[in-house]
Amino acid sequence: MSGRTLVGVLSLVVLGLLAWELRLVLLVLFGAVVLAVALDVPITLLRRLLPFSRPAALILELVVLAVVGGLITSLLLPEVLEQIQVLSNLIPQLPARLQTLISQVPQLHALEVKLVGGATWDRLQPLGGQLLGFAGGAANSTVQLLLIALLAVLFALDPRSHQRLLLAATPQFYRGRVQVLLSECREALGGWLAGMTLSAVVVFLATWAGLALLKVPLALLSALVCGLLTFVPTIGPTAATLLPMAVALLLAGPAKMLQVAVFRLVLQNAEAFVLTPVLLSRTVNLLPTVALMAQLCLGALLGLPGLLLALPLVVVLQVLCQEVLVHDVMDRWTTASGSQKR
């Protein structure tokens, strides 16, 4: 082993350990990249149609986004605010309502008595501490989100030079391949984002219409939450269903809750098994278990941010695995058999 190899191996190990220590920062960076790709998709489209420079296109896009967002919020905000207020009035009633429901079932009555008897203020004090920690976490995540947005704008402003930087960090003989890899990752991520945006919009509209037809109150807010949580497959829609169900239970009774649950179940399955595969079939081909498994593993390794960013991460990882591990390493590995059999 020559000195050069030793230095290379050592620096590689140190870099790996450093990356592991900084994994949350790297996750923020990855979130910024995802957002930058999301910004980049319309920019590329715009520049293909009209002769704009990149900064101008970016500014135009941001302005359009701000205007559309402002319009939507000014149209929907009063209603949403009103609904949020109603909701915040309703939430304290939820435990009481659940209690009355539970006490109607005789077997659960004993359990409920025990629960209520024990839930004095002393027991709840650790909960207060948790709430404080939660507030701190919220501030922290706001800062992180701002950072992600800023980084994304910077990346989207000049993606070419960032790409060149990454390219310069790979060995000469592999640079052409890395260029192809980067563009493939970009394509997969862009396709995924576009498909998911479409499907989230569809889910939002369908949920809104369905809940309005079922005459469930707070339809708009619930639909908004459901649409946003579509970006976190498998777990998100299930969690999102809880909100309209709770509202229906509070304001309309258990029968309505059942209706809402069935409606959301049908919609969610249609989205997961019909709409998303059709939208994504051209760009990203993920096996369903891979997505689920990735969410579990990344959630265990990186916490909630990992869970939220699991799907984009897995899209990129799949492209990298497919190209580097399978295509460049495993498919070419034929000489070893000759040496082994000899």
Binding site: L12, R123, T289, L296, L301, M330, W333
Partner: protein, 367 residues
Amino acid sequence: MKFGQWLALIALVASLLLLWSLREALMLFFTGVVLALALCTLVGTVQRRFCCGRPLAVLLSLLVIAVVVAIGAAAIVPPFIAQFAELIQKLPEAWAELLSLLRQALESVSRMLYGSSDGGLSWLENLGGSVKPGSALASGVGDWTLRLVGLVGNLGTVVLKTLFVLAVALMVAAQPTAYREALLQLVPSFYRRRARAVLLQCGEALSAWMGGVLISSLCVGTLAAVGLSLLGVRLVAANAVLAGLLNIIPNVGPTLSTLFPMSVALLDSPWKAMAVLGLYVVVQNLESYLITPSVMHHQLKLLPGLTLTAQLIFTVMFGPLGLVLALPLAVCLQVILREVVIHDILDRWKDKPLRRMAERQGDGVTP
């Protein structure tokens, strides 16, 4: 060693460490795959029997499973829950009964030895007193609620994990070939054909094992039910179901399943408890020497010591789920070890220096 080889080594070590830290998720995934395999076996049988397409067969078998589960739940679960609750309530009584029996025996022995004095045995009474459930409950109501909250949280995670396992099982059973081919992509190309054969063998071994376990569990449950009802022990259904379920875990499970009926029988009379013990020993021996060998394939035969070792190792590595899954894991590992390590590596490993040495010795002897 060149830099590329070092790179491969480091990547291998890092991925192994990552897999180790994710072992719980991997165990859940393995559970899902085992369930999916069971489903696939059923689907294959249905497909062959009725000569229909795969989607129809999947639907049919899911329907069959749903109907069976619904009937079983309707028929067994309510009496089982009632009896199980009674069983749990009776356990402390049985413990007290056992203690008093022990105390009587010791007293009689001491009376025989020392005449009428029965001192020095007060510690046993204290022991009996401290186990009373009521006092422990009354002293720690606060702990109780906290524990209840923790229990609810645990229940939530258990429900989530079960849902995850079921989802994985259904997804894998829907398109098993796609998953197998995806896994095979990660194998060097010169080894892919062999790896596919090994994977198929693993699947066959697992489904054979599951069929065998299903039959032997049913037999054990039936035998236990018949024996217990003949002996007149109460809570027959609960004990029979327990015996059948715990039969999946060898060594540990049957021992555990003996405890419950014995404690119930002890409430009636001591000789009945001994009779129950005898019954379970007979049933276990019937199962392990008559039913299992006739049901399982020869190649599946795991040595008893190996089974126990596997259980110990997997429990230490993966926790309680490892104990439950020890046998399927061992079956898979056995196939992989036999085919890959022994057949493909060790059997071909003819050491050149050794052979040369042997030749040289032969040269030295012949002239």
